[in-house]
């Protein structure tokens, strides 16, 4: 998403938040539908349990509903919601006694998960991504998701994770190095060589 599109999307989100602050359920539903996919995918980098993911998404919107009027507008709505989701996610995992999924193996992202919905190339891409993500720590996966999946800047990621931007840069650097050296197929080399 380029800067202009991001600004437009944020203006829409802010308008929805204002309506939510006034108790508008329809605005809440609109924001919920708009973010559900992104939040679920983000949380799926922390845990593979759909029940926890669903609980965290609803906790996030429960908080957003109660504090919509407190949103100061210093950051994008997306950054604010992602921050709430991240903290709710960590809290839910602690409550469930689930550790951050640092040790996800290939089994966590079994091949063919998207079968039936993904076109062939996407299915292959998803399988490769599963292998790649299994190599990263949970912290690295979260940063990669926020930068590449959601499209946040490094400063925004630092605000979401409440850590210095240098930490975000370091996590991204190490994640990219692992992906580069261990999963070259993600660059398309295997496909090109094989074809």
């Amino acid at each position: 998403m380029n800067e202009a599109n991001a600004r437009t999307a944020d203006a829409i989100d802010r308008a929805l938040l204002q309506r939510m602050a006034a108790g508008d359920h329809a605005a809440l539903a609109a924001l919920y539908r708009s973010y559900h996919g992104r939040l679920c995918r983000f949380l799926s980098r922390l845990t593979r349990r759909p029940d926890i993911i669903e609980e965290v998404v609803n906790d996030c919107f429960w908080i957003a509903w109660q504090h919509a009027g407190d949103f100061r507008g210093d950051a994008r709505v997306s950054t604010w919601l992602m921050g709430i989701t991240y903290r709710c996610g960590l809290k839910a995992l602690r409550r469930q006694g689930v550790e951050l999924a640092d040790d996800l193996t290939d089994d966590a992202f079994p091949p063919g998960l998207g079968e039936g919905t993904d076109p062939g190339e996407d299915r292959e891409l998803r399988d490769l991504l599963g292998k790649a993500l299994a190599l990263l720590s949970a912290d690295q996966r979260v940063v990669v998701e926020l930068v590449y999946g959601v499209g946040h800047s490094l400063n925004e990621v630092a605000a979401i994770l409440q850590c210095p931007v240098g930490t975000v840069k370091a996590r991204l650097f190490h994640a990219r190095m692992k992906l580069l050296n261990v999963v070259p197929a993600l660059s398309g080399e295997t496909r090109e060589q094989g074809s």
Binding site: M1, N2, E3, H25, L28, A29, Y32, R33, H36, G37, C40, R41, S44, R48, P50, I53, E54, E55, V57, N58, F61, W62, W65, R95, Q96, G97, F109, L113, G114, T117, D118, D122, L125, R126, L128, L129, A132, V144, E145, V147, Y148, G149, G151, S153, L154, L172, F173, R176, M177, L179, L180, P184, L186, S187, G188, E189
Partner: protein
């Protein structure tokens, strides 16, 4: 693939610029510089291709079965009924401090219940009785209830109404009441359990000898 981000200064700059480039966040000048570098550097071009593929892979929809509409319905229901819809938090291990606190609360509750029962018995069983008058037996199904003094009258009335109870005696010195079910259909044990778990009810005990 021979790329490492230490290859040279230009490759380092290109490496750092790639995430912003994917998001369309580079200035036209930065973008032009990166395009020029990628045209000359095979390693960076391969790395950028990987970044694009990674971005596409990361943008695929979540591969877990999570229904947005069902989740939204639950959220709206939770908002409409915040007390009822709040999911109970699963139990978690507590430390020694937590266990000590729970033990103290249980002891306090037992003590309070015993004290209330004793005071009640003092109140409901007078020290003497005239020989010409028999002690009036408690009505069938009677229950002793001691509400918290801080309980609102409206809450008390709502509880009686919802539980199908009416007051037949009280309050006594400890603020206790004798209540009886308004219908016979009420299951006594379930009713007692519900009353005991109601916030603001300090004591709920059946009167001995009544069915």
């Amino acid at each position: 693939m021979g790329f490492t981000p230490n290859s040279n200064q230009d490759c380092m700059l290109a490496w750092e610029a790639m995430p912003d480039a994917l998001q369309g966040a580079l200035t036209p000048r930065q973008s032009e510089w990166l395009d020029g570098h990628l045209a000359r550097c095979d390693a960076c071009r391969a790395q950028f291709a990987q970044q694009q593929r990674l971005q596409r892979a990361m943008s695929l929809p979540v591969d877990l079965p999570i229904d947005a509409e069902a989740g939204l319905k639950r959220l709206l229901s939770r908002i409409d009924n915040p007390d009822l819809a709040k999911a109970p938090e699963p139990s978690r291990p507590v430390g020694w401090a937590g266990r000590a606190l729970v033990a103290a609360i249980v002891l306090q509750a037992i003590g309070l219940g015993a004290m209330g029962a004793k005071l009640w018995s003092l109140e409901s069983a007078p020290a003497y009785r005239t020989l010409s008058r028999e002690a009036a037996p408690a009505p069938a199904g009677s229950i002793r209830l001691v509400p918290d003094p801080a309980m609102e009258l409206a809450d008390w009335n709502a509880l009686l109404d919802a539980s199908g109870l009416r007051v037949v005696e009280g309050p006594n010195k400890v603020g206790g009441y004798l209540v009886v079910p308004t219908t016979e259909a009420v299951r006594r044990e379930a009713l007692l359990q519900r009353l005991r778990s109601t916030r603001g009810i300090l004591l709920a005990e059946p009167v001995a000898g009544t069915p």
